[in-house]
């Protein structure tokens, strides 16, 4: 596997949330708002990359019988560090994510990558794998977050939890802006599907997204099957034609 493939596989082919269904707790819990989803993803990228690097560095040193405890210790260390750093520098994000920052420890994705990839591969490859997988995880969270925030409020806001680039929260996009051109009294918040910011909305939104993905892959598989069927039919036709030709030859010879 080339380095590029190794990096890109986390996005679509082996996406942790959409394909492997790992780390579903944060995928449901912190995605009510796009920004918290992005923040969670960034924390996971850091923990995953660092733990992959360290596990890979120590892969020949850690004895095989006690590798799970060692991995858990390494991951827990980085999670504690990331928790303290986020508390110090992005305090709003820390408050919004709450208990889900320490819960990165038990995110199956991180332990899974340590056991199945980093413990068998070189440091650079493991780092790329961790970074790519983390980006894939973030990508999935952001997709769910944008979907839910847009449906529940009719717009996307930046700057509430991640105080980068802007001082005040800025509305990146809102349906208000477009509809107000035609009807100035319209307030999207009165018509928004508030359910999608609540618990049921999380389940249903993720269900819809997974169904879209599954539907697409189902269609692709169906198409492939159809193509194969057609090929078989064609082959059969060719074989039949050959047979008929052979029979004709035999007849003529006779």
């Amino acid at each position: 596997m080339s380095k590029k493939e190794n990096f890109l596989k986390g996005f679509f082919k082996e996406n942790p949330i959409f394909v492997f269904l790992l780390g579903m707790c944060p995928a449901l819990a912190v995605t009510a708002v796009f920004e918290t989803a992005l923040g969670m993803g960034l924390l996971v990228i850091f923990v995953l990359t660092m733990s992959n690097i360290v596990v890979s560095m120590l892969r020949n040193v850690i004895p095989n019988d006690v590798r799970t405890p060692a991995y858990i210790v390494i991951i827990a260390t980085f999670v504690t560090i990331v928790g303290m750093v986020s508390k110090a520098f992005t305090y709003d994000l820390y408050l919004a994510l709450g208990v889900f920052i320490p819960l990165i420890v038990v995110n199956c994705l991180i332990l899974g990558r340590a056991e199945s990839f980093a413990s068998k591969n070189k440091v650079l490859d493991s780092a790329i794998d961790g970074f790519g997988m983390g980006l894939g995880f973030t990508f999935a969270l952001v997709v769910i977050g944008v979907f839910r925030e847009f449906l529940s409020t009719g717009g996307i806001i930046w700057g509430e939890f991640l105080p980068f680039f802007v001082d005040q929260p800025v509305t990146l996009f809102s349906l208000d802006m477009i509809i107000n051109l035609f009807n100035s009294d319209f307030v999207i918040a009165d018509y928004a599907l508030n359910m999608f910011s609540l618990a049921p909305g999380a389940f249903i939104a993720l269900g819809i997204i997974l169904a879209l993905i599954q539907g697409k892959s189902a269609r692709r598989i169906k198409k492939e099957i159809e193509i194969q069927k057609q090929r078989i039919v064609e082959l059969k036709k060719v074989a039949l034609a050959k047979k008929a030709a052979a029979a004709k030859l035999v007849k003529e010879a006779a």
């Binding site: 819960l103 420890v105 038990v106 995110n107 389940f203 599954q214 539907g215």
Partner: protein
């Protein structure tokens, strides 16, 4: 604290702030181990057992060791290690002394270390109960854990029953498997949202 406080704590943790449908903890076993009712009950029993003991131990460690010495910041790493060793200990004891018990719920114990519900409840006890009651909230923490675990068992059992029906129903290809399960969970969650006004 009177018994009503404990009753309310159990009721609140079990139904109103249900661990799966409201707090999104333990989604992994919820989707993974809920294909058959029998395995759902086994998983629920294992979670109940470990969760109650784990929240007792973690609360004690937090209030009697970490806070007095001012080292609350290592709580995450301390909790996960305590829970992991507790799971190992319980598994070993079950293996040695009670084979039927091991067969019914011990086989789910290796999955519990990475179950976020256990660590989530331990952390939640610290942030919700410890800040209000201090070290006298120990029993409240234990009862909250009991309620949470009962809520987990209830939901995973109910969900497995629905899922057994889903297996034989005619679902479009795109929605087969996890997507339809998630929508079913969402509808259950709406039902539990209705309990919100009780307390």
């Amino acid at each position: 604290m009177t018994w009503t406080v404990f009753a309310v704590a159990i009721f609140n943790a079990m139904l109103i702030n249900n661990v799966i449908l409201k707090q999104f903890l333990g989604i992994c076993p919820f989707l993974g181990v809920s294909k058959k009712s029998s395995s759902a009950v086994g998983m629920g029993a294992a979670v109940t057992f470990v969760m109650v003991i784990a929240s007792f131990v973690t609360y004690a460690i937090y209030s009697y060791v970490l806070v007095p010495y001012g080292i609350e910041y290592i709580s995450t790493i301390a909790f996960i290690l305590v829970i992991a060793s507790l799971v190992q200990l319980v598994e070993m004891i079950l293996k040695k002394f009670s084979k039927p018990l091991y067969k019914s719920l011990g086989i789910y114990l290796p999955l519990i270390t990475t179950n976020c519900a256990i660590l989530g409840v331990a952390e939640g006890n610290i942030s919700n109960i410890y800040t209000n009651y201090g070290s006298s909230g120990m029993w409240l923490a234990v009862f909250t854990a009991l309620g949470t675990a009962l809520g987990f068992t209830l939901i995973i059992f109910a969900f497995s029953s629905v899922r057994e029906k889903l297996e034989s129903s005619n679902v479009p290809d795109a929605w087969k498997g996890v997507p339809i399960s998630l929508v079913v969970a969402g509808i259950m969650s709406i039902a539990f949202l209705g309990l919100q006004g009780i307390l």
